[in-house]
């Protein structure tokens, strides 16, 4: 109105004006003390605001990485799902082989050979979580379109949807066992029917209840993410990622469990899932953990001490693993490093004690290495 720059000052400050507009604005500034002053004040506002402190509760950042890792791990489980499919198929074949001849012998004229109806004994089922995942892996019955991998993930409202799906499918166990090929259709129908029922009022975490996040927002966000990191193979990845993520029934269960809101069924599923993952994922994770510990290069005594503890914990957690012996030796070496870096007599003593314990054990394949290490230490009084 009066020719002052007004709202445009902010864009000028950010360098977000077209060259022509910018030139005009700068010309105006040369003659207008008021706008010049306002621009300076706006710049000062930014500078002041940068001093806006943010504090987290004590210890928060110490534990956050572990919490995130645990949640990622819980969601990663579906990678093992193909194994679960095979386990289920194998169980089905065994059941078929066992039950069919019996059924035929008992009632040759009335019992349809291909449809053994005996309920599956629970013992044959590898675990509930695995079964629950099977149909989800084959093709998830999703009512809403999945925008893409990112959006598909954790649109929070789906947490309870997936939970329900898992329960529904778990309930359809016997048909799944006796007729693996027909399982898809059966399970999907059941799930579809079940999904139509309103969700049990489960109070998810504060964030997860935000209704604004589901499909539209998630889709839009995935667009944003895609815009940041576009990849030609996006379509392929979508195809790959989707079953994985859709299959992720156990993770939300675990979350629910944490909230104390799990039904008996989902609790069972989560526990079984955890057991399954422990069994299948132990070796992979041990290797990862081993690799990370190997990569650590302590630069302070405290680092080295922590590393020694981490190696000890590793050996304790996986006493029969293939890296256990190396871990025991590395724990001793790290204790020595702690002593070398910090000169604390306590570290030296710990190193000696650990070395003595190692040498005193029945199995000490690297006895020579530890003895040599001991010889480099000053003699103990």
């Amino acid at each position: 109105v009066n020719g002052h720059l007004g709202e445009r000052l902010s864009a000028l400050l950010d360098g977000e004006m077209s060259p022509a507009d910018r030139e005009a604005a700068e010309a105006h500034l040369r003659d207008c003390a008021a706008c010049t002053r306002e621009l300076e004040e706006l710049a000062s506002v930014d500078a002041l605001a940068r001093e806006w402190p943010v504090e987290a509760p004590a210890g928060y950042f110490d534990e956050l990485p572990g919490r995130v890792r645990a949640r990622v791990r819980a969601r990663r489980k579906p990678r093992l799902a193909p194994a679960a499919v095979w386990a289920t198929a194998a169980a089905a074949v065994v059941m078929f082989a066992l039950v069919t001849p019996l059924a035929l012998r008992q009632a040759p004229s009335t019992m349809p050979a291909a449809a053994p109806v005996a309920p599956a004994p629970a013992a044959v089922v590898p675990e509930a979580g695995a079964i629950a995942r099977v149909p989800l892996v084959t093709e998830g019955p999703r009512a809403s379109p999945v925008p893409d991998a990112l959006g598909a993930l954790e649109a929070p409202a789906r947490v309870s949807e997936r939970d329900r799906m898992a329960k529904a499918v778990a309930a359809s166990k016997p048909p799944a066992l006796s007729a693996p090929r027909a399982m898809d259709a059966t399970a999907r129908d059941k799930v579809a029917a079940n999904s139509a029922v309103p969700a049990p009022a489960a109070p998810p975490p504060s964030f997860a209840t935000a209704p604004a996040t589901p499909p539209a927002a998630a889709a839009a966000e995935s667009r944003a993410a895609g815009a940041v990191a576009p990849t030609p193979a996006q379509e392929e990845q979508k195809a790959e990622a989707r079953p994985q993520q859709v299959a992720d029934a156990a993770a939300p269960m675990a979350e629910k469990r944490k909230e104390g809101d799990a039904t008996a069924a989902s609790r069972e599923g989560a526990l079984a899932g955890a057991g399954y993952e422990r069994a299948m994922g132990r070796r992979l994770r041990a290797d990862e953990r081993y690799e990370m510990l190997l990569a650590r290069r302590p630069t302070t005594a405290a680092d080295a001490r922590a590393l020694a503890k981490a190696w000890e914990a590793f050996a304790r957690d996986l006493p029969a693993g293939r890296h256990a012996d190396e871990a025991r030796v590395r724990a001793i070496e790290s204790a020595v490093t702690a002593w070398r870096l910090g000169g604390e007599p306590g570290d030296l003593e710990s190193a000696r004690a650990a070395a003595r314990a190692y040498l005193g054990a029945e199995s000490a394949p690297q006895r020579d290495r530890v003895r040599t290490l001991l010889e480099t230490l000053p003699p103990s009084e």
């Binding site: 950010d14 975490p205 993410a225």
Partner: protein, 215 residues
């Protein structure tokens, strides 16, 4: 320049070089291992960025418990989308954009409107020895916190992404799913509001800026 700002502290040594991505090799290596399924590598990434992501979330949602949810969710989503992330780009702005989007969506939700902000939550005085001590006195900090809280969360989100993350208007528009025009007007109104609220302190801030520039 001025004393190290909170943004510098948030950002840490992995600061993005202005005008271009600066990706350090160690980070690219971690990301590539994380993409290959190495959870410990991903945990390292979380360690590197958690403060920055938390600060972004916290500045928008103003509640620790919500910020905590947002931060975890942001890292989970980033992990799931890692396959599509271009390793030649810096991770920080990307994860902060995800967090900002989640934060704003939370604040927009009806549920969040029912949750009142705890009184004076953001006004915890920074303990002595902080880099801020001596720059802003306690009263100024309190006024700053009040002024920032008086912005709408939408204005705050745009402001945070611009001033702390130094994103372009286009990047902000994409992250928050709004038009560039909206980014521009929210930023302008937000800054104007802050300018009014902070008038008594702007003189000193301007003097410091002038002094810094004259050095």
């Amino acid at each position: 320049m001025d004393v190290p700002s909170q943004a510098d502290l948030d950002r840490g040594p992995q600061a993005r070089a202005p005008g271009g991505p600066a990706v350090d090799a160690a980070e690219a290596d971690l990301l590539s291992r994380a993409r290959g399924g190495n959870l410990f590598a991903f945990e390292e990434i979380v360690k590197r960025y958690q403060r920055r992501v938390y600060a972004t979330a916290m500045r928008i949602v103003r509640r620790h418990d919500v910020a905590d949810d947002v931060v975890q969710e942001a890292f989970l989503r980033a992990h799931q989308a890692l396959d599509r992330f271009d390793l030649a780009r810096p991770f920080g702005p990307w994860i902060c954009r995800i967090a900002a989007n989640l934060a704003v969506n939370h604040v927009r939700s009806p549920q969040s409107r029912e949750e009142a902000l705890p009184e004076a939550h953001a006004e915890t005085p920074v303990p002595g020895g902080s880099p801020l001590a001596g720059v802003l006195d306690e009263e100024a900090r309190r006024q700053l916190a009040r002024a920032l809280e008086s912005l709408s969360s939408d204005q705050r989100a745009v402001f945070v992404l611009r001033v702390f993350e130094e994103l372009s208007y286009k990047e902000i528009a994409e992250a928050l799913e709004i038009s560039i025009g909206t980014v521009m007007s929210r930023l302008s109104r937000g800054r104007e509001r802050l300018r009014e609220a902070l008038t008594p302190y702007l003189g000193a801030a301007m003097a410091r800026r002038a002094e810094g520039a004259g050095r």
